[in-house]
Symmetry: C2
């Protein structure tokens, strides 16, 4: 299994390119990673929407979550079987208005949608990285994305916006490049991965490792072409429960059976309730479009997320944040609970940085940042127009 | 792998038996199961503590949870590597005082500590049930335990007490045998398994099924004696996170690494945070003492738990509850949240049954029912002494 979506042969961005078409930027210099590895070159695939202003002052960077990619907006297209993951938020006349802003979204380092990741071809021998892919961090993802400054001719992002792992990148953007970011919007994220978040991530890794078809990470050339899709499916199911809420599941599925006509008195061990069918659907859907090694590596990057690392502690790290910040939390989020968004807001505020906290009232759980765009949009629109 | 703990050859209870020693009761009549299966005979292993009063009025039944067994109290012994799971609650002078009460705890049907379960020998062919073991329900567990009435010469339990799946049995005891139970104490449990609870259970099942050593459930005679211990370990890890709380994990593990001397900059994909080591420990500990098929079948029984099934709806089912009820909930329980205990209390109260609700303030999550016995003990002691 190698990246199944052809990447355009040239990556230079031209103003007349169709909006939302994938482009790529390549850094051919060795890229040193935070955890000690080196990639001899790095490709960053990205999409853009809108028009860059003459003074390049209207560029907004969108950062995607664990299994997201560069296709934040726009219709389904080759390699993207569904419309953009923030399709209802980004576009002409929408909350992140592409008539006004030049919007950019890049597939993260470690991903499987064109940017360098475990399924990419190792330049040394022309075979997929597989088990040779090094550990990456959120900071590596951000540093790789910085190639877009030169690529697009941008000095500074007007804002960097993202939810979940996207929010981790947002925070790191403001701390690594404090002079090149004018404002940030971290949504449903954390300053440091908590033990519970790490626990969920670790369980997902062990599930994939349990699948004999994972083959230690070198399954791309397996004779039968059979990767660890079942392990990835089940790992995703664990995540899927943490992405939603008890209330939502009760309202949506209750105790209904998949086969409603069959009496429950004939139930066997593997007959399913509707919620199981839902989990199977989401697991299979992800396994069709995502690479298990990318899932492992990006998950590990989230576990390693800690804005304090190497910065003299949390308060000192937060001290790097010198630009206006809009923090967004979700009432029913069990994975990145509201208290973590309140903590970001409180710590940033205490250092005198202009900070706002917006709370989404939703039963959708963590995934509300993808679903309840009607609630997320207005505060972002207002925040983007604040005087800087 | 067959039951690894020899069961005494005779099961008749004699007053001079040592307290806490395992005994067994056997029903040699065909036992019809709620979901349609039939077991040609059923063994129920149990332990007792204290002395049965001459009028048999002081018998208290304790019901265990998913991976518990009959060893609710007493020191480690053959087949029980640790002291009883409610060791600090049950005993002379303790909250459930065995100087006063005759306390009984039985291993559930489907278990692997002596009662009939998937690892038991099928009487027809002398080989383990394995994949032939039928689906069981909480009601089947309760009906199997009813063999103890004759075995012990008891007409009525003074109280039936249990947490988690034990609480499900408690509720079913009061509904199936309303005249043979004088009071009930359901702790951290539910009236009906919710979609989220089913989701967690289903994921655990799929993880065990992913382990090639599960072999469709027929691994007992595997040439290499190698069962699905890794699948069971990981399934347990999922449960373990839901048994505890975010706060507890943060306080106890934070972001500490297992190998604290190794710089994080040399982290690889499988190096572990302390919380991962904790999960591995708990997974391995369970896999050493528990049978994967029992885990699957008992888990399914919990998913099927619904006191309303076949009883004309929830309110009608609750109407069968005619004895005093003490409901106990835990503030930090994310698996059987406090609102579910409040619901039990509210529904029972609304039908005019004397009901109390006691709330445990704890950060231990669901497992507080096993840990915070100092908080659970006093209300149970008081409840046991109420006039009936």
């Amino acid at each position: 299994m190698s990246p199944d979506h052809p990447i355009p042969a040239s990556g230079a961005w031209r103003p007349d390119d169709a909006p939302g078409r994938r482009r790529f930027a390549v850094s051919r210099r060795p890229f040193s990673l935070e955890m000690g590895g080196v990639l001899s070159e790095v490709t960053v695939v990205y999409e853009t929407w809108g028009t860059l202003a003459a003074d390049a002052s209207n560029a907004v960077l969108i950062c995607h979550a664990w299994t997201g990619d560069s296709h934040a907006a726009g219709p389904a297209q080759d390699g993207h079987p569904t419309p953009g993951w923030w399709e209802r938020l980004i576009g002409p006349g929408l909350a992140i208005d592409t008539d006004e802003w030049f919007v950019v979204c890049a597939n993260v380092l470690g991903g499987c949608q064109g940017s360098t990741g475990p399924s990419s071809i190792h330049p040394d021998d022309g075979r997929p990285y597989g088990s040779r892919f090094p550990v990456i961090t959120i900071r590596d993802m951000v540093r790789a994305q910085a190639v877009l400054f030169d690529e697009l001719g941008i000095e500074r992002w007007r804002s960097v916006i993202g939810g979940s792992m996207g929010g981790m990148q947002v925070l790191e953007w403001a701390m690594i490049f404090p002079d090149r970011v004018a404002s940030v919007v971290p949504i449903a994220t954390s300053l440091q991965a908590t033990a519970q978040q790490i626990a969920w991530g670790a369980i997902g890794r062990r599930i994939i490792g349990l699948d004999p078809r994972w083959r230690g990470g070198d399954y791309y050339d397996a004779q039968d072409g059979d990767g660890p899709s079942e392990g990835l499916e089940i790992a995703r199911q664990v995540a899927q429960v943490t992405f939603r809420s008890d209330d939502l599941f009760t309202d949506r599925f209750g105790r209904r059976l998949v086969d409603r006509n069959r009496p429950i008195e004939t139930f066997d061990l593997w007959q399913r309730f509707e919620v199981e069918s839902y989990l199977d659907y989401h697991g299979e859907k992800l396994a069709r479009r995502f690479d298990a090694n990318s899932y492992l590596h990006i998950g590990k990057a989230m576990d390693l997320h800690d804005v304090a690392r190497g910065r003299g502690g949390l308060r000192s790290a937060i001290g790097r944040l010198r630009v206006p910040l809009l923090s967004v939390g979700i009432t029913s989020d069990i994975l990145y609970p509201l208290y973590q968004q309140q903590e970001i807001h409180r710590m940033v505020s205490s250092l005198g940085v202009p900070a706002e906290l917006h709370v989404i009232e939703s039963q959708h759980g963590h995934d509300a940042f993808l679903i309840d765009v009607d609630q997320i949009g207005p505060p972002i629109t207002k925040f983007l127009h604040r005087d800087l």
